[in-house]
């Protein structure tokens, strides 16, 4: 299984773990404090361990480069759609009717974090889909 494919799966599992932790904590300590669960995203920093070399096996070649390149383009494409098209048009338009024409400074850091999550998640999905399309039935 290529390390890049593992990285995609790793992120999607981590995303599910964080979502589950958030939902559970939200029940007990409320939606704001439960956002501490997002700290689990820090485990993404362990991803380089997936690229350890085992024997003579090549861990990265030109196909991985191409897949990663396309996945990053997809990630940034979705980011622009979600964080520019939506907040700067729909959101600002709607909220300006209520006298809040600017995004709250309390919300902004969460938006930045949300942006990273959107890029990483879209990239992970694009990576997994591309590997599955190129090696159908083998999952890699």
């Amino acid at each position: 299984m290529p390390p890049l494919y593992k990285e995609g799966i790793y992120w999607l599992v981590l995303l599910a773990l964080v979502a589950a932790a958030y939902l559970v904590l939200m029940i007990f300590i409320g939606p704001i404090r439960a956002m501490g669960a997002f700290g689990l995203f820090g485990l993404a920093g362990l991803q380089p361990l997936l690229y350890r070399k085992h024997g003579k096996a090549v861990v990265w070649d030109e196909r991985d480069t191409l897949i990663n390149y396309r996945a990053i383009i997809a990630g940034y494409g979705v980011l622009w759609l979600v964080f520019t098209l939506v907040p700067m048009s729909v959101w600002a338009f709607v909220y300006s009717f209520e006298g809040h024409s600017m995004i709250s400074v309390q919300i902004l850091p969460n938006l930045v974090m949300g942006g990273f999550i959107v890029i990483a998640t879209t990239r992970a999905v694009a990576i997994v889909v591309q590997y599955r399309l190129q090696n159908p039935g083998k999952g890699e």
Binding site: R63, Q134, N135
Partner: protein, 71 residues
């Protein structure tokens, strides 16, 4: 369908039933990349195509061909 076909599977067997892993190590790519190329799911770069030819001791066009040429 890809415009390029390949003879990798045949060439592997003609070269002592070389495994995909052996071929991958010889040309410096992952085994999954060999699987994808052999299955026509991925078209390699020109540099990699030459490395295939060198690994089998044949020319690039003996490994990869335009589909219309191979029919």
């Amino acid at each position: 369908m890809p415009a390029i076909t390949n003879q990798i599977r045949r060439l592997r067997f003609e070269h002592g039933e070389m495994t995909q892993q052996d071929l991958a190590e010889r040309i410096g790519v992952a085994r999954q990349t060999i699987i994808a190329i052999e299955g026509g799911k991925y078209t390699p770069s020109l540099e990699l195509a030459f490395r295939f030819g060198r690994a089998f001791g044949v020319g690039v066009e003996d490994v990869f061909r335009w589909k219309e040429d191979s029919q």
